[in-house]
């Protein structure tokens, strides 16, 4: 609440996504469509997502496979162009900037960490080449000695040593590789890091190391994160705000405290209930029935209604929109009408 009171003096959010949408054309080839009389098929991977991230904060996006989390990540770093809506980064239109002549300037400021550290590092390059590439590419450093010094500094900031520079990716474990990709992402001194499931390929003890490093770096450098994960426990640990996605839409957006202590949307509650609890061994979870529907053919109205215990006729017919309610944003007729 105190943040809202301070709002007039506070600087505008670093990242503002407004009604972001991405539609993929997954139609059969033209000839098949003509001969078999099939219509065009469009897949709405992300369908109108809006959020803001303040400088130095972390927004986490959670949801099950196919809900559009990774598409949002790719939209934010400019790997995809939005079908609708836009992204403002530090006040400027990011997607216009990605296409302009000065695209490098904005690309320096937004970097990405990928999920699989086995696939995202070139196996034929040394660590020095991998971490040094962005420095070269953006023309930040020209002198070989200076480059080496900077790479050493980057490696040390993620807990690796200068001796690791001459090694190849296969000589490292999964957690160390993920640190190399963090060092590479930090090379251009970005302000905003988009992390797409950075620890889901790692073992828990190694995951803890990587998450701790990411938190330390955020504190030291004032980084802003978009953190994508399907693991709510990890999200609780790293985030300030949490957005829950379902079939391409945000269904609940709230700060961490209220989302975990008082989840509102039936889907959020379902996700929280589905997590195995360590404390009470042998206690059976109440599994939620049903699965995520096919995004090619989403249900009418609220896309969660076939699995929702609170669904009524309005939910089947009318799509809820994200609205402010008691300090959180939620898209649910049942909660907005107070029948939960």
């Amino acid at each position: 609440m105190s943040e809202q009171i301070k709002a007039p003096q506070a600087s505008p959010p670093l990242v503002v996504a407004h009604d972001l949408a991405k539609t993929f054309d997954v139609s059969a080839p033209w000839l098949n469509r003509v001969m078999e009389g099939k219509p065009r098929q469009l897949l709405k991977a992300v369908d109108g997502v809006s959020f803001e991230i303040e400088k130095g904060k972390t927004l986490a996006l959670v949801g099950e496979s196919g809900c559009g989390k990774s598409t949002v990540a790719r939209l934010l770093v400019g790997l995809y162009e939005p079908t609708r809506g836009g992204l403002r980064f530090d006040g400027q239109d990011a997607h216009a900037a990605f296409k302009s002549k000065d695209a490098r300037q904005i690309r320096q400021r937004i970097q990405m960490i990928f999920q699989d550290p086995y696939a995202s590092l070139n196996p034929r390059w040394t660590v020095q080449a991998i971490v040094g590439e962005p420095l070269h590419e953006h023309g930040l450093i020209h002198d070989a000695d200076e480059l080496e010094a900077r790479v050493v500094e980057l490696l040390q900031s993620v807990g690796l040593s200068a001796l690791d520079m001459v090694k190849y990716p296969h000589q490292f474990s999964g957690g160390q590789r993920q640190r190399i990709s963090i060092a590479r992402a930090l090379a251009t001194a970005p302000e905003f890091l988009v992390c797409d499931e950075p620890t889901s390929a790692l073992d828990v003890s190694v995951q803890a190391q990587v998450l701790n490093i990411m938190k330390d770096l955020q504190r030291e450098r004032g980084l802003t994160y978009l953190f994508i994960s399907h693991n709510l426990a990890v999200v609780r640990h790293v985030s300030d705000k949490v957005g829950v996605m379902y079939l391409g839409q945000l269904v609940e957006l709230a700060d961490k405290q209220s989302l975990f202590s008082n989840p509102q949307h039936p889907y959020t509650r379902m996700l929280l209930d589905a997590i195995p609890k360590m404390k009470d061994t042998g206690r059976a979870r109440t599994p939620v029935q049903g699965e995520v529907p096919n995004p090619l053919n989403p249900p009418s109205g609220c896309s969660f209604h076939p699995r929702c215990p609170l669904a009524n006729s309005r939910c089947k017919a009318e799509r809820p929109v994200l609205q402010n309610l008691n300090g959180i944003q939620i898209a649910c007729h049942a909660v907005q009408e107070g029948r939960h």
Partner: protein, 325 residues
């Protein structure tokens, strides 16, 4: 009598640079109807243990020592044909990725009927009837129609249900489930785990559940074995191991898991990484990462002994062997 007995199992991989010992003398038992969890980080030897039991160890890996008994019958030295009559009939298997465990070219019904007829003396019609019942048991609605569908027509969670039906087809007494829910979303994971638990209870099958997810272990298993670098470091009833871990590795592992109910500024971390097979340190394999390491840990290898606090938990650690040694 225990259903499965593993005694001093050793699995080795011969390589150009010497023989690598991936599993180094592990022993455990599974009682009929019991669910034993096997937990550990990648490379700890969990999956190899499972593969040794079902006789699907990939060459050049081989069982270099020890014995495996199923209902008193030794099964680790059987030839391929003999093992085939046990695999499926007495031991069922569920693997991580349901898409690769099903043949994409055959309908799920054909695969189920083939498995049933290979092990049970049933006619095609009877086998089909049984296949439909199995699919219904695993919670697939409209099983009479779905039986003729192909694997790609099922979603991930549904495929894993088919795989469970396949594993149960010949009423095995033991099911080896290797990371059965790792490829699935949390909401589907909950469905599959509760299904596995209830269906095994109904059929009276014991389960060896291999996973790296402590949460799944906590809610599913009766006992749990914690593996590290090819050895069991702690084994005991699940509530004891999870709530009162005795081995420093188990304690570190438990503390490094982010807790959904607690806010912590930093997670506890175990520094370092699990050693590679060609560089396992002498003494206790965990000693370079252990916060309570002593001189003895660097030289002598601890064996599993019963702990003083709990009568059923065994732990391989010098901290707990002090009194008995």
């Amino acid at each position: 009598m225990s259903l499965l007995q593993v005694k001093n199992l050793v699995v080795e991989f011969p390589s150009r640079h010497g023989t690598l010992r991936a599993i180094d003398g592990i022993s455990f038992e599974i009682a009929p109807g019991e669910i034993l969890g096997v937990v550990g980080e990648s490379g700890a030897g969990k999956s190899l243990t499972g593969a040794s039991i079902i006789g699907l160890l990939e060459p050049p890996g081989r069982i270099a020592g020890g014995e495996i008994f199923l209902q008193g019958q030794r099964i680790d030295n059987l030839n391929n044909d003999q093992m085939r009559s046990i695999r499926g009939r007495k031991i069922g298997a569920i693997f991580q990725d349901p898409l690769t465990s099903l043949n994409p070219l055959y309908s799920v019904g054909k695969q189920l009927i083939e498995t049933i007829q290979a092990h049970l003396p049933l006619s095609h019609e009877q086998a089909r009837q049984r296949a439909i019942e199995l699919l219904q048991d695993t919670g697939i609605s409209a099983a009479t129609e779905r039986i003729d569908h192909f694997p790609h027509q099922f979603s991930g969670g549904m495929r894993q249900r088919v795989v469970i039906a396949l594993a149960l087809a010949a009423e095995p007494q033991l099911i080896v489930a290797d990371e059965p829910t790792t490829a699935l979303d949390v909401s589907i994971q909950a469905q599959i785990i509760s299904l596995l638990k209830s269906i095994c209870k109904k059929h009276g099958a014991a389960v060896m559940l291999i996973t790296h997810d402590m949460g799944v272990i906590a809610e599913t298993c009766d006992r749990v074995a914690v593996m590290y670098a090819g050895r069991i470091v702690e084994i005991g009833p699940v509530h004891q191991v999870i709530n009162h871990p005795e081995h420093p590795y188990t304690a570190g592992l438990m503390a490094s898991i982010p807790d959904i109910e607690v806010d912590r500024e930093r997670l506890n971390q175990i520094d370092g990484a699990m050693p590679r097979l060609n560089a396992i340190p002498p003494g206790c394999a965990f000693n370079p990462r252990c916060p309570q390491v002593q001189a003895r840990c660097r030289q002598e290898r601890p064996e599993l002994v019963l702990t003083e606090r709990f009568e059923q938990t065994q732990v391989a650690c010098w901290l707990h062997a002090g009194a008995t040694a």
